[in-house]
């Protein structure tokens, strides 16, 4: 009785997992096969598509641009969000409720809707924003915000903020110094985990990149989209390379969060 039940549960879990895994596996096999026409199994295997991808300067450029935009956006987000959360938690704890509502906005408003407003607001601005990486860096900050706020706010509730700062004050440190030397090291894990998570999310962002900038500054996702007419094997190799990168980031994020729980 018990073992037959276990069998049912296992088969449910495994069949749905297989369903989820199938597209990833198929893309992987496709990227490794030399050709795969109108047949169920590929004809032969080779690394030539990865070779073609990694020697394509356009891919290297697009990847570099994506990295630059995502890292700049995360840097901007860290600089803006960290002092904000500290001030909220130390001086105005009541604002936390307001913030929890505000950070829902980037989730609740579909990117397509935001981009309508962004496009019209900044299309005619004196500083060229639309079509440049700057607009992406600024909008990506709003995407990273909910992840960062939640993770860092959790770290703040876990430490004894008031007592730590008071002790630092008693010992003669300024609030800024206490924040940098005492609070910041305590937030490191939560912050890093949220950064890796946001990074993998931002790297996959397509809507803003396509509508606000498009081919004028080709990022990884735009490059991927533009390559859709070329060989499916080539795009598969591209998807797998991208996915391996994402996998690394989520793995690092989960390792870090597990570290905080223990």
């Amino acid at each position: 009785m018990q073992s037959s039940k276990q069998f049912v549960h296992k088969s449910v879990v495994y069949s749905i997992s297989t369903l989820l895994f199938l597209p990833i596996l198929a893309t992987f096999i496709y990227s490794l096969s030399s050709s795969w026409g109108a047949t169920i199994l590929p004809d032969g295997f080779s690394f030539k598509w990865y070779n073609a991808l990694l020697t394509d300067p356009r891919f290297i450029d697009a990847f570099g641009r994506s990295l630059l935009i995502c890292l700049s956006a995360l840097l901007l987000a860290t600089v803006l969000v960290l002092p904000m959360i500290f001030v909220v938690f130390y001086y105005y704890p009541k604002l936390d409720k307001v913030m929890n509502l505000l950070i829902l906005l980037p989730f609740a408003v579909p990117p397509v809707v935001s981009s309508v407003g962004l496009l019209q607001l900044y299309a005619g601005s004196s500083i060229q924003l639309i079509g440049t990486p700057w607009i992406l860096i600024a909008t990506y900050f709003t995407i990273a915000l909910p992840f960062m706020y939640r993770a860092v706010a959790n770290s703040f509730t876990a430490i004894n903020l008031k007592d730590l700062i008071d002790a630092a004050h008693l010992l003669g440190a300024s609030t800024t110094k206490a924040f940098l030397l005492i609070i910041l090291p305590n937030l490191k894990k939560g912050l890093l985990a949220s950064l890796f998570l946001s990074f993998s999310f931002l790297l996959g962002e397509f809507v803003f990149a396509n509508i606000l900038v498009g081919t004028r500054y080709e990022t990884l996702q735009i490059y991927l989209y533009n390559m859709r007419q070329t060989s499916g094997h080539f795009t598969s190799a591209l998807v797998m390379t991208y996915f391996a990168f994402i996998f690394l980031c989520t793995w690092l994020a989960s390792r870090l969060t597990r570290g905080t729980n223990q």
Binding site: I40, P93, P111, V112, Q120, F206
Partner: protein, 298 residues
């Protein structure tokens, strides 16, 4: 919190008058640190929303409801709404059901396996957008491996990935991992002793789920459904990459009205956006009302 503000206030009152202004400034100095954040958040999150809202009521420079009138007069735009709602509703429902079965079974597996599978689900939730559309073309496209396999087995006559059923499959796929991640903690509310007690009192497992399990889970299931629905209705990348913008959905319409090659009508796009947000708001409100009525809500 309260006692702190009171003590601060008395402190201010006790200080000599000439420095009181300075003190008030000093008191609000920490708030200055909020300004850069508030500025960026306003410029790139709030301001675009305000623009969309205001300009949806402006037609050729005048205040009017013309944009909304145009939407309700256009069968093409109305079709995009019905397509989006249809796909979002069914993909959320099917995704939610599969996720619920998955999570309830997952809880019976041993811990190591559970952790590994949750980590995998976490990872596969990132497999979305353009890469997902490409993967689907490879396996379910006209010459895709799975399409050919199913045809050979005689299970399907033909499968068109670029139709509503194809899109429904794609949408359901990206709903499942999200549903699992959202539902997984909620199932903690089901206590094992409740199940055993129900069986001892002569209930069948089926009856247990109908009378005890599902009612306890209902707030979580409804909440997850709403998030999945919002996720689906706002999705753009995968359907755009799959059909090059040829399938009529709300997000595709909005994007083509602001960044297409011809017929740019940002104010009409704004009106469609406002309706989309209203739809989301309406569904969330119904959901909140249902949850509030449920006696199992916390």
């Amino acid at each position: 919190m309260n006692s702190k503000t009171i003590s601060l206030a008395t402190q201010v009152n006790n200080e000599p008058k000439q420095s009181s202004l300075l003190l008030i400034l000093h008191q609000y100095k920490p708030a200055l640190w909020l300004i850069p954040f508030a500025l960026f958040f306003y410029l790139f999150q709030i301001a675009p929303m305000i623009w969309v809202f205001i300009n949806s009521f402006i037609y050729e420079g005048n205040w009017s409801l013309e944009n909304y009138q145009e939407i309700f007069d256009s069968t093409f735009i109305l079709q995009s709404f019905s397509n989006s709602i249809w796909i979002s509703f069914w993909s959320s429902l099917v995704g939610l059901m599969l996720a619920a079965f998955f999570v309830s079974s997952l809880r019976h597996l041993n811990n190591r396996l559970k952790e590994a599978i949750i980590a995998f689900t976490n990872m596969s939730s990132n497999f979305a957008g353009v890469p997902l559309a490409f993967a689907f073309i490879i396996i379910l496209g006209t010459n895709g491996a799975v399409t050919l396999l199913l045809k050979q087995w005689g299970l399907i006559e033909d499968f068109n990935l670029y139709s509503r059923w194809g899109l429904l499959t794609l949408y359901t796929y990206f709903q499942i991992p999200l549903g699992i991640l959202l539902l997984y903690p909620a199932f903690d509310a089901l206590k094992k002793d409740a199940y055993e007690a129900a069986l001892l009192l002569g209930s069948s497992p089926f009856k247990y789920w109908i009378k005890i399990g599902l009612p306890i889970l209902s707030p979580a299931l409804l909440g997850t459904f709403i998030i999945l629905f919002a996720n689906a209705i706002g999705a753009y990348a995968s359907v755009y990459a799959l059909t090059s913008g040829n399938y009529n959905m709300i997000t595709i319409r909005v994007a083509s009205l602001v960044s297409g090659d011809l017929f740019l009508e940002p104010n009409l796009a704004a009106a469609i956006s406002v309706l989309l947000m209203l739809l989301l708001f309406f569904i969330t409100a119904i959901n909140q009302w249902l949850i509030a009525r449920s006696c199992y809500a916390k």
